[in-house]
C-alpha cells in the first residue's frame, strides 16, 4: 500500500509541475522557475514560525508571496538597473536562499526543517504522515490530499486561463493589442509555480522540483508541435517517471525523488536522440538524404542546363 501512496503522490505532484513547466519553457522562463523554487525558502521558514506546522494555509500564502516577490525583483533589477536577466536571476535567488538557510539556523529549535530536506526532500516519509480525523478514522497520507488539491488547482487555473496563457505565450504583442494583461498572467503563472513548489517541497526538495517542472515538458516539446498534445504527453511522462523512478530507487536503495528525476533525464535523452520530428538522429538521416539528393540535382544542372 505504501508503494502505491508514494507513486500516487509523486505522480500527482509531477503532473502539476509538468503542466506549469510546459508554459515556463515555452515562455523561456525555465530558470525563473528554478529561481522561484529556491527563493521560496525564507517564505516557508517564516510561515512555519507563524503557523507552527508544515502543511498549512499560511505556508502556501507565504511561499506564493515570496515567489511573486522573486519574479518582481528579477524584473525590477533587469528593467530599472539594467542588469542582464541571467545575472538578475542568479543574484536574487542565491540571496533569498541564503536568507532561508540563515533563518533555519537562527530558529533551528523551532523549525522542523533541515538542509538535506530543503535540497532533495524525502518522499519516502509520505505514508507515515497520516491524516486521522477527530473520530480516529484513518484517511490515508496527508500528502495525498495536498497533492490532489494542488493538481485540481492547477487544472482549474489552466482550463480557465488556457486561452490567455496560450496567447500571451506565443504572441504577446497581439495579446496586448486586444487588451489582455500580460503582466497579470505572468504573475498568476508565477503564483501557481510558487504554490506548487511549496506543496511539493517536503517530498522532492528545492532542486529536484525543477526537474519535475522542466524535464518532462522539455521532452514532450521535442516530440510534438501542438501545445495540447504537449501537455497531454507531459502528463503521461510525469506518471511514467514516477512509476519507474520509484522502482529504480528501491532497487539501488537511493533517494526516490532523485531516481524519478534521473528517469526523466533518460526519457529526455531518448527523445533528444530519436524523436521522430526533432531528434538529432532523425535529423542527421534527413540531412544525409537531402545531401545526396542535392548533389545529384546539382550534377544534373551542371551537365544539362549550362
Amino acid at each position: 500500500m505504501d508503494d502505491i501512496y508514494i507513486i500516487l503522490v509523486a505522480s500527482l505532484f509531477s503532473i502539476s509541475c509538468g503542466l506549469l513547466g510546459s508554459f515556463l519553457i515555452l515562455r523561456r522562463m525555465a530558470m525563473v522557475g528554478d529561481a522561484i523554487s529556491h527563493a521560496v525558502l525564507p517564505g516557508i521558514v517564516i510561515a512555519f514560525l507563524i503557523s507552527g506546522s508544515r502543511d498549512s494555509f499560511e505556508m502556501i500564502i507565504g511561499a506564493a508571496l515570496l515567489g511573486l516577490i522573486t519574479s518582481f525583483l528579477i524584473e525590477f533589477f533587469h528593467k530599472k538597473a539594467n542588469l542582464q536577466t541571467d545575472a538578475a536571476i542568479g543574484v536574487t535567488f542565491t540571496w533569498l536562499f541564503a536568507l532561508g538557510i540563515i533563518l533555519i539556523s537562527v530558529f533551528a529549535g523551532q523549525v522542523d526543517l533541515d538542509q538535506e530536506c530543503v535540497l532533495y526532500g524525502e518522499i519516502a516519509y509520505v505514508p507515515l504522515d497520516l491524516w486521522i480525523t477527530d473520530a480516529g478514522l484513518n484517511m490515508g497520507p496527508k500528502a495525498l490530499y495536498v497533492s490532489a488539491f494542488i493538481l485540481a488547482a492547477v487544472i482549474i487555473f489552466l482550463s480557465f486561463g488556457y486561452r490567455y496563457l496560450h496567447i500571451t505565450t506565443f504572441d504577446s504583442a497581439f495579446a496586448a493589442s486586444i487588451g489582455i494583461s500580460i503582466g497579470l498572467w505572468h504573475y498568476l503563472l508565477m503564483g501557481m509555480v510558487s504554490m506548487t513548489t511549496v506543496a511539493a517541497f517536503d517530498s522532492v526538495g528545492a532542486i529536484l522540483v525543477v526537474a519535475l517542472f522542466v524535464v518532462p515538458a522539455a521532452t514532450s516539446y521535442l516530440l510534438t508541435r501542438k501545445l495540447k498534445s504537449m501537455l497531454l504527453m507531459t502528463v503521461l511522462l510525469s506518471f511514467l517517471n514516477s512509476f519507474l523512478g520509484y522502482y529504480l530507487a528501491s532497487t539501488i536503495n537511493g533517494s526516490i525523488s532523485g531516481a524519478i528525476a534521473s528517469t526523466s533525464g533518460v526519457f529526455f535523452l531518448l527523445a533528444f536522440l530519436f524523436s521522430p520530428i526533432d531528434g538529432i538522429w532523425i535529423k542527421a538521416i534527413k540531412r544525409n538524404f537531402d545531401k545526396s539528393k542535392n548533389t545529384s540535382k546539382t550534377k544534373f544542372n551542371k551537365i544539362f542546363k549550362e
Binding site: A87, T94, W95, F97, S105, V106, A206, V215, K283
Partner: protein, 428 residues
C-alpha cells in the same frame, strides 16, 4: 566583543586557515566570475555547481575512498561535461538555453543525489564527509584544504593574467576575436575550464546552491561602479574577499551560523546597495537623472508655449493666466505649478497677479526652442521628404536635445530659412 577582536587579530590558528581559505576562494571565483558575467553566462556556473555532484559520488564509488585528488578529478569531469551537454542541447534542438541549463542542472543533481543516498545506505563508513560538498564546510577548513585552495587560486589568477587580452576579447566581442585569428574555441574552452575549476573548489566552501552567488554577484556589484575591465575585476575580487572574511567572522562569533550562507548574504547586500546607490548606473541616480530631464523638458515646453501665445498676439511679453496656458497645451497641474515656480526663481518668467509673462531671458529661450522645432520640421520635410503633417511629433522630442553646434549646422544647411513647412515664421 572579545571573540570579534580575537577573530580580527587572527590569534587562533584555526581562524587563520578558515579566513585565508574563504578569502582565497571567494576572491579567485569573483575574478573568473567576472568573465562569465560579461559573457552573459551567469547561470552556467550554477549548472556546473550542481553537475559536479555525480562526479564526486562516482569518484568515491570507483576509488572507494575520499582521496581529494580523485574527488576533484571526478567533479571536474562531470562539471565540464554538463557545459558541453548544455551547448549540444542548445545547438542541436529547438530548446532554448535557459531550459537546457535548468534541465542539465536538475537531472545531473538528481543523479548525484541518487548515488549519494545509495552510498549512504550502503553502510560504507568512509562516506561521511561527502555531505560537505552539498552545503560547504567553510567553518571547518583545515591546512590540507588550504594548500589546495591556494594552488587553485594561483592557477586561476595566473591564467587570467596570462590570457587577459584574449579573455577580454572573447568576453566583449567574440566575432571580432574570430576575425583577427584568435583561437576562439580554445579560449572558450580555457574560460570554461577556469569556471569549472573555481566551482569545484568553491562548493567545498559554500555548497552547491550558493556557488553561483560567489561567482557572479561580486561581478554584478562591481559592474555598477566602473566601466573599466581591470578596475571591475579588482573591485569584484575585493568585494568577494571582503564577503569571505565577513562571512567567516559571523560564523566565528555566532558558532551556530553557517559560513557559506553568510558569505552570500554579505556579498548580496553589497550588490543590492550597489544597484541602488552607485553613481550613474545605480537605480537612484538614474531615477534622479530622469526626473531632472523631465523637469527641464517641462520648463522648456512652458517657455515655448508662452512664446507661441505671445507670437500669436504679436506681443511676446504679454501676460497670460494659467487657464489660457493650459488651453494652449495640456500640462498636468501637479507638475505645472512647481515648474513655473522654478522658472520664476531663474527669473525666466514674471508673475503679475495671476498672470505669467516671459522675461527677456525667458523670451530668448522660448524663441530658441520654437526655432529649433520649426527648423527640424523643415529639415525633415525637405531632406527626408516626410509629409509636413507627420513631422511635428518628432520635432517635439528633438527640440530639447539639439546642441548649439547642431543648431548652427542646421541653420547653415537650410540657409537660414524664413518659413517652416506649416508656413509659420522661424524666429532668429
Amino acid at each position: 566583543m572579545e571573540s570579534i577582536w580575537k577573530f580580527i587579530s587572527l590569534s587562533d590558528p584555526n581562524i587563520i586557515s578558515v579566513v585565508i581559505g574563504s578569502v582565497l576562494i571567494t576572491a579567485s571565483s569573483a575574478v573568473v566570475g567576472t568573465f562569465s558575467f560579461l559573457k552573459k553566462k551567469a547561470l552556467v556556473g550554477d549548472a556546473v555547481a550542481h553537475a559536479v555532484l555525480p562526479g564526486i559520488c562516482l569518484a568515491f564509488i570507483l576509488s572507494g575512498n575520499k582521496n581529494p585528488i580523485y574527488i576533484i578529478i571526478g567533479a571536474f569531469i562531470t562539471g565540464w561535461l554538463s557545459l558541453i551537454i548544455i551547448d549540444i542541447i542548445t545547438k542541436k534542438s529547438k530548446l532554448k538555453e535557459d531550459t537546457a541549463i535548468a534541465l542539465v542542472l536538475s537531472v545531473s543533481f538528481a543523479i548525484g543525489i541518487l548515488m549519494l543516498t545509495a552510498i549512504q545506505h550502503s553502510g560504507n563508513a568512509s562516506q561521511s564527509g561527502l555531505q560537505s560538498f552539498l552545503f560547504g564546510k567553510a567553518a571547518a577548513l583545515i591546512g590540507r584544504d588550504l594548500i589546495m585552495f591556494s594552488v587553485v587560486a594561483v592557477i586561476l589568477l595566473l591564467m587570467v593574467v596570462l590570457f587577459f587580452k584574449e579573455l577580454k576579447l572573447i568576453a566583449f566581442d567574440e566575432s571580432f576575436a574570430n576575425t583577427i585569428g584568435l583561437p576562439v574555441k580554445a579560449l572558450n574552452l580555457l574560460l570554461t575550464s577556469l569556471i569549472v575549476m573555481a566551482v569545484v573548489t568553491g562548493i567545498q566552501a559554500v555548497g552547491v546552491v550558493l556557488m553561483a552567488a560567489i561567482l557572479i554577484t561580486p561581478a554584478a556589484a562591481a559592474r555598477f561602479w566602473t566601466d573599466d575591465l581591470v578596475k571591475m575585476i579588482i573591485l569584484a575580487a575585493i568585494i568577494g574577499a571582503f564577503s569571505g572574511w565577513a562571512g567567516s567572522l559571523v560564523s566565528y562569533v555566532a558558532p551556530r551560523m553557517p559560513t557559506g550562507p553568510w558569505i552570500v548574504m554579505v556579498v548580496s547586500i553589497i550588490a543590492l546597495i550597489s544597484f541602488f546607490i552607485a553613481p550613474k548606473k545605480g537605480i537612484i541616480s538614474k531615477q534622479l537623472e530622469l526626473a531632472k530631464l523631465r523637469a527641464s523638458i517641462l520648463e522648456e515646453n512652458l517657455l515655448k508655449e508662452l512664446y507661441r501665445m505671445g507670437e500669436k498676439d504679436m506681443n511676446t511679453s504679454n501676460a497670460y493666466t494659467l487657464d489660457l496656458l493650459t488651453m494652449q497645451r495640456h500640462f498636468p497641474i501637479k507638475y505645472l505649478k512647481p515648474a513655473l515656480r522654478r522658472l520664476l526663481k531663474k527669473s525666466l518668467v514674471f508673475k503679475e497677479g495671476n498672470k505669467w509673462s516671459l522675461s527677456e531671458q525667458g523670451h530668448q529661450k522660448g524663441k530658441r526652442i520654437v526655432k529649433l522645432h520649426r527648423l527640424w520640421e523643415l529639415y525633415l520635410s525637405t531632406y527626408l521628404k516626410i509629409a509636413p503633417d507627420h513631422v511635428h511629433e518628432d520635432a517635439e522630442t528633438i527640440e530639447h536635445i539639439i546642441t548649439p553646434e547642431l543648431e548652427s549646422r542646421l541653420e547653415k544647411l537650410l540657409d537660414f530659412p524664413k518659413k517652416d513647412p506649416h508656413d509659420r515664421k522661424i524666429p532668429y
